[in-house]
Symmetry: C2
Amino acid sequence: MLKDLPRYECLLEAAKQFPDLDPSASEAYLHLLRTSDEAFNVLTTHLHQAGLSQGRFTVLMLLIDKGTGTPCASTPAELADKAGVTRATMTGLIDTLERDGMVSRDSDRDDRRMLSVKLTPKGEALIHGYLPGHFKLTASLVQPLTENERKTLVRLLGKIMQQAAIMADTNPIAPAVLSES
Amino acid sequence: MLKDLPRYECLLEAAKQFPDLDPSASEAYLHLLRTSDEAFNVLTTHLHQAGLSQGRFTVLMLLIDKGTGTPCASTPAELADKAGVTRATMTGLIDTLERDGMVSRDSDRDDRRMLSVKLTPKGEALIHGYLPGHFKLTASLVQPLTENERKTLVRLLGKIMQQAAIMADTNPIAPAVLSES
DNA sequence: CTTTTTTAGTTAGGCTCCTAATTATAAGCC
DNA sequence: GGCTTATAATTAGGAGCCTAACTAAAAAAG
């Protein structure tokens, strides 16, 4: 999800040379990316300590049976869709998870093209041992904010997310840029 | 910076099974990551259209001479530090940028271990042609927020960033988690 | 039925990033 | 001077992501 972490000081400086630039927008944007990056890195470090990556973690989460009798996803295609990666990528993730004994592939009796991916006891133990710490970390990150501030944050981020979704649809630059006119 | 994009619906559902979980914190955290991811993807798409990646873009930004006579960085080591990547990674980035004619490597007379990396005219043209659209995109993303909302957002994100920095320092989980007690 | 189309999953090859080991040079110490 | 340590950059090998091409099986069309 978050990677790279360019150092944006230089970018901000360069930005000042652009007359048509909206300074508060740039500042908000850079803060958003920097903050997510920091937060993400905290969690990623925790993941790495458990031998996980974002992709591996997502797969395990999707495979957990949350008491309903069925996990969120079980075939590679479902997993890829819900994880937001391609099927090819999911094949690779399942490959390494299977190699490490965290999941198993079982072929479907009715449709021989399909597979069913399941958590092994080892995988189940790993993810259940990992999650409490994960949730504690996320809680710690947001802990400086009051309940009201959290609501405000979610609301403001929601506006940006909505705008990003609009811009992602109208893919060329021009229409998105002109959306405020 | 942002990649992967796990679909957190399942995660949120799973989270409900954890009694010690702080729901508003999880929600805020997930919103933060999802929003940055969406915003990041919009910009990354724009970068790709220009034949750039986050890493390549950062290098070019660092190499721009912003009228001061000297760019932010010029040796691979400086570039790596300011870009937040390893020197090995920077070597690879410079390799492909040099291959594409965007930058040049010149050896230092005094210290033969050192190199000086410079933008070629082609690289300079590319980044200068790219930036206006980049800034317009970031402005569009934040456009739904009023000036006051932008200030609030920056303030709230700042609190989280500060907390993340604290947690990144106290690296093991336990101390960070207990920081509120 | 046979042929075409669709679907599930994988393979192949590329990119960006990483860590760890390596090469070459410079600097400090005896 | 000669040895050790530190520094600049690179190389080697791996992980996770991508797109595009491929294989196998099921479904649809004739």
